[in-house]
């Protein structure tokens, strides 16, 4: 039934690759991986393996082969295949319990199960009395190998998930335990062969060979690991460079093309160049905020001032130099102040832009937020403006006063106008 349900879902998807599951596995994740691949409940696959094991140990061989050849996958069944939903439906409680269970507990259960099954196997199958003596050493060797192999899988998984790093002692213990089990098993076989007397010399010889191999292969191994780590470093660097290149390519080359096309229009060229400069600076000098979050609303005063200045600069083609001292989160009052400041910047850019760059200075000191916008234009006298022209009065002075702040407009001694906006931050700021 579940196969039938899974089939139509599985049809349109690209061919799945078989992976061993790293989540919720008992031993090597073979059964879980296969179940995910075939769209079957895990328990079925496990039962099939156990059944095959009864058939002259075929299941164990098969399992070992899968474990050896199939790579470990990320995430396990759930992450790999959406149709696992079907299997969850068929046996919801069973599956959930399996997933929730700690892998280490599962492993103990699996080991116990293995021992039981092996005993049953030995009891049922006649392997000959001579071979029977080798059973326990063989079981020991098998357990040791399983431990070490799982260890290797864990090391691989740790690279993806960044887990297990703090449990270095545990992994070391496991490796040692695996080696001890295998050694004990192999030694046991020697003992059973009746060559217990020679055990010492055999072990010595084995050790000597091992040392010899290490001496011969050691340098190659060391160099290989060095090469590998070096290669990884190079790859990381290349990736970083590719990222920079992508950015430079996308924005800088694009802007340069536009500049070439607009070469006879100095205002447009200047605007493009300034916008590009700002973008590149934000990208290069912002330590962790990568400057890519242009879309969302500014959250702080400094952000808001910079963004307003950039927008006005883009729109009116007048360079605006911004200096910000201190910072604080935006609230209702400072938000209004930012709007007034923006209005002042627009005015400065429109009427005072010929005299040079507009200078914006914002300072947050204690509870006071101060913004000054100055231009070096022809100057501006509020009293000479007709009473029905509400631009400055309403959008700058009025707005500030309604929100409990002050606005001053004054001519600068050597020409130009300066707008000073002062506002107390709202009392309750989270």
């Amino acid at each position: 039934m579940p196969e039938a349900a899974a089939a139509p879902l599985a049809e349109p998807r690209p061919p799945r690759k078989l992976y061993r599951s790293s989540d919720g596995r008992w031993l090597g994740g073979v059964a879980r991986g296969l179940a995910g691949h075939l769209g079957l409940p895990v328990i079925w696959v496990r039962l099939v393996f156990v059944g095959l094991f009864m058939a002259d140990g075929l299941g164990a061989l098969l399992y070992a082969a899968f474990w050896f050849f199939v790579p470990l996958g990320v995430g396990g069944v759930e992450a790999r295949k959406p149709p696992s939903l079907v299997t969850t439906e068929t046996s919801p409680d069973g599956r959930r319990r399996l997933v929730a269970r700690k892998p280490d507990k599962g492993q103990i259960v699996a080991l116990l199960l293995m021992v039981v099954v092996a005993l049953v196997f030995v009891g049922n199958v006649n392997v000959g009395s001579g071979a029977k003596a080798y059973l326990w050493p063989a079981v020991l060797v098998g357990a040791g190998v399983a431990l070490v192999w799982r260890q290797a899988d864990n090391a691989r998984r740790a690279r993806w998930a960044e887990v297990g790093r703090r449990r270095r002692t545990v992994t070391l213990l496991r490796a040692v335990a695996g080696v001890l089990l295998v050694t004990a098993g192999v030694s046991g076989m020697f003992v059973l062969q009746g060559s217990a007397a020679h055990l010492g010399s055999v072990l010595q010889a084995a050790l000597a060979v091992l040392v010899g191999i290490t001496l011969l292969a050691g340098p190659y191994l060391v160099r290989m690991t060095q090469d590998l780590s070096e290669e990884r470093l190079m790859r990381i660097r290349a990736q970083e460079r590719a990222e920079v290149a992508a950015h430079v390519h996308d924005s800088v080359l694009h802007t340069l093309t536009l500049i070439q096309r607009n070469a006879e229009n100095p205002g447009e060229v200047r605007r493009l160049a300034r916008a590009q400069e700002r973008d590149l600076r934000a990208w290069l000098y912002k330590p962790e905020g990568n400057g890519k979050d242009e879309a969302d609303e500014p959250a702080t005063v400094a952000d808001a001032v910079r963004r307003n200045a950039a927008e006005v600069e883009d729109k009116h083609g007048v360079p605006i130099e911004v200096v910000v001292v201190g910072d604080c989160p935006l609230d209702e009052r400072t938000g209004a102040q930012m709007q007034a400041a923006r209005e002042a910047m627009v005015n400065a850019a429109k009427y005072g832009g010929e005299g040079g760059a507009v200078q914006v200075y914002a300072e947050v000191e204690g509870r006071t937020v101060f913004v000054s916008v100055r231009d070096r234009g022809p100057g501006f006298d509020l009293d000479s403006i007709p009473a029905d022209r509400m631009g400055v009065r309403e959008s700058i002075i009025g707005r500030m006063e309604r929100n409990g702040g002050t606005a001053r407009l004054r001519p600068v001694p050597d020409g130009g106008t300066e707008v000073e906006l002062e506002m107390e931050r709202a009392e309750k700021t989270s």
Partner: protein, 247 residues
């Protein structure tokens, strides 16, 4: 009047510096400059803008592209002002300042440094100023402003761009919380006011008018700020820089 050949003798050069200060006006001034920047294009550009000695009074006597070259060239030519880039191969502008410290301290013919940077990072800029540079201007500065700044630095004055003033205010604002050495680390109200006006884009002359003080007084306030910045406790400023990155 200040012939470069005179610079071979200490006395001659001191005399030349003195006459340059008294002459003050256009034409009479003369300053020897070394350009340190790793971009050849930029050096060429600056050279083209300020290098017409007849008009600007600036004579470029040497160029360098990295720290080792810079130290060699500066030691060999003994310029009055060095235009120093913040980012340089071999340790950056700070390293040049460190290795040229004896030249800066020379009472007879001090070599003065003006940082010329494209960097927006406050840490870079404050670092160079703390290393002993007499001022900081950005690379977007116009040729005539740059010439002005060079002469101001030569005369022993400090040159603060609006951006640098902002950085300094920022640095001192947060060190105010727990000043280790109050007399040294704190800015006076007046100095703070002057810095604010610089940050708002005012020229020294405008600041003088605004605060009803003389230009000389403005200059002395700015120099005092520079001195405090260069002497102020390293720990505080480092903490400021780290805190800033976290904000």
């Amino acid at each position: 009047m200040s012939d470069p050949t005179e610079a071979n003798t200490t006395a001659g050069s001191a005399e030349a510096a003195g006459s340059a200060q008294t002459a003050g006006g256009a034409g009479g001034r003369h300053v020897r400059v070394v350009l340190v920047d790793d971009h050849r294009m930029f050096r060429t550009g600056v050279q083209a803008e300020i290098g017409q000695t007849g008009q600007t009074g600036v004579e470029v006597v040497g160029e360098a592209a990295d720290v080792d070259q810079a130290v060699t060239v500066i030691t060999a030519t003994r310029p009055e002002v060095v235009l120093l880039d913040v980012h340089l191969p071999g340790g950056g502008g700070v390293e040049v300042l460190r290795r040229c410290a004896p030249l800066m301290a020379d009472p007879e013919r001090p070599v003065r440094f003006l940082a010329l940077s494209v960097s927006d990072a406050a840490e870079d800029v404050i670092g160079v100023i703390r290393g002993g540079a007499r001022g900081y201007v950005t690379k977007t500065i116009t040729g005539s402003d740059l010439v002005d700044s060079i002469f101001r630095v030569q005369e022993g004055d400090a040159v603060f761009s609006p951006r640098l003033a902002g950085f300094v205010l920022d640095a001192f604002a947060s060190t105010d919380a727990a000043p280790v050495d109050e007399d040294l680390d704190r800015l006076t109200q007046r100095e703070r006011e002057v810095l604010r006006l610089i940050a708002r884009g005012y020229a020294y002359k405008e600041i003088a008018k605004q605060l009803f003080i003389s230009v000389k007084t403005v200059e002395s306030h700015v120099s005092a700020v520079l001195r405090k910045l260069q002497l102020s406790n390293r720990h505080e400023l480092t903490r400021w820089a780290t805190a800033r990155r976290l904000v």
